[in-house]
């Protein structure tokens, strides 16, 4: 099989989406850790000249950037354990929620980038989007993808692991069992799923990293 290489950055949920997809499909790959804060490699800049970001997947020497694009490529190249249903309408729904997840990032992360009154407002805005996600995206399903993990589950996977750390660092509770019962239940199911459970970044390392990031964001905002 042609070489698969993933350029990533360990705290990034975008990167983990790709790792989860590869692992769920049993695809072997080489992982290259990039120093995204201080020293991006020449190879990364060559493979993603437009955005200069991770994740980048390189397969048989050809690079693909943007996690949503990479996931579709993985789905088409390794069809086992599908992340999308067969019917066009079901696929459109999965893609809709994936795009929703991308578009709502500023609203969902707002609480982490702010403090005081601004943070109260930002947290409420994020929770409004989570309400839509819980009621209309997830509903009564086991996973966003139905009975199995699908593309939309990978899009929102960060809620199952990163959100807790970000909430702790920012001193704000965003999702609780009482306020978001269905999302909360999904979070437990997702992070306990065998392949996912063994593929999560170290929690204490994340706490240190995100404490530093929040300090940087707040300092920038104050300057």
């Amino acid at each position: 099989m042609a070489q698969v290489t993933l350029f990533g950055f360990w705290p990034s949920p975008f990167v983990y989406r790709v790792i989860w997809a590869l692992k769920l499909k049993g695809v072997d790959y080489e992982y290259v850790e990039e120093d995204m804060l201080y020293n991006k490699s020449d190879r990364l800049l060559k493979y993603n000249p437009v955005h200069k970001k991770v994740p980048v997947l390189v397969h048989a020497g050809k690079p693909i950037a943007e996690s949503a694009v990479i996931l579709e490529y993985i789905e088409e190249t390794w069809p086992q354990n599908p992340l999308l249903p067969k019917d066009p309408h079901g696929r459109a729904l999965a893609r809709f929620w994936t795009k929703f997840g991308e578009d709502k990032i500023p609203a969902l992360f707002g609480f982490f980038m702010t403090e005081g009154e601004q943070q109260v407002t930002a947290t409420k805005e994020g929770q409004e989007q989570l309400r839509i996600l819980e009621e209309q995206g997830l509903g009564d399903k086991k996973f966003f993808g139905g009975d199995e993990i699908g593309m939309a589950d990978l899009e929102f996977g960060w809620l199952a692991w990163w959100l807790e750390v970000l909430s702790e660092v920012a001193g704000v509770k965003v999702i609780e069992a009482e306020s978001f019962p269905r999302l909360y239940a999904w979070i437990q199911r997702f992070k306990e799923f065998p392949t996912i459970k063994e593929t999560l970044p170290d929690r204490s390392a994340m706490l240190t990293y995100f404490k530093g990031r929040r300090a940087t964001f707040l300092a920038l905002a104050a300057s």
């Binding site: 693909i64 943007e66 490529y73 190249t77 459109a92 809709f96 209309q136």
Partner: protein, 237 residues
């Protein structure tokens, strides 16, 4: 099932506004694939109850309704169209790598479009900055097209059989380039700086299904003038 209900099956309705390039993307896809559809023009200041029913989350256009089910988000809609109707060109080719490049650049066009809108909405230094941004982004797009068309743009005849999702997206945003030039008094796309982008657009415009869906120049000019005046007014208010 009544005759009416049978007729409802396979019924395609597109909710849109004629000024939106995102709606235009979908329109072009339907036309190029020869799909019959009903078009409903929405007044975004007074959205219809049906639109709000079909797109309660974003309340935006375009919305495609097929067999009574709504699909939302222009690129999602076009992929749905490509998967559901096998007539006309295949908007995403078979090869997964080519598909990934087309998806990447189609998604990138949103950033190009946002920069273009900024040029229309601003003057002076702000506009200079926006123009520079558009120029940089279109240059990157040119490099992307070089990868997709290593042998250059095909003849109109060939092109019409192989037109892709990316081509339709580029056309939806740049097809009105003459109107943009007239209103702004400057070129946003230049055949010397970005020859592939320009030859892509000029070839696509010649495809009959595309030609008939482009809006008349005077109408677009009038709209862009109005849009720009409004934006400048509210900026200084």
């Amino acid at each position: 099932m009544t005759l009416t209900e049978m007729a409802e099956q396979n019924k395609v309705i597109l909710y849109g506004t004629w000024t939106s390039p995102y709606v235009k993307r979908v329109e072009l896809a339907l036309k190029v694939k020869g799909i019959r559809y009903e078009y409903v023009e929405e007044d975004l200041r007074n959205k219809s109850p049906l639109l709000l029913t079909f797109n309660p989350i974003h309340k935006k256009v375009p919305v495609l309704v097929h067999n009574g089910k709504a699909i939302v988000e222009s690129l999602v809609i076009i992929e749905y169209i490509d998967e559901t109707w096998k007539t006309g060109p295949q908007l995403l080719p078979e090869d997964p790598y080519k598909r990934s490049q087309i998806r990447f650049w189609a998604s990138y066009m949103q950033q190009v479009s946002e920069a273009m809108v900024l040029v229309i909405k601003t003057i002076g230094e702000a506009q200079e900055k926006a123009i520079k941004e558009v120029s940089e982004k279109v240059k990157l797009l040119e490099a992307g097209l070089k990868g997709l068309f290593p042998d250059g743009i095909p003849s109109v005849h060939e092109y019409s059989k192989n037109v892709t999702l990316l081509d339709l997206v580029i056309l939806a945003h740049f097809g009105g380039y003459e109107a943009q030039e007239e209103v702004l008094g400057l070129k946003l796309i230049d055949s010397e700086k970005t020859p592939l982008v320009v030859s892509c657009i000029t070839a696509l415009i010649e495809i009959p299904a595309v030609k008939e869906s482009l809006n008349p120049l005077e109408k677009v000019v009038a709209f862009l003038k109005f849009f720009r005046e409004n934006a400048l007014k509210s900026a200084t208010a």
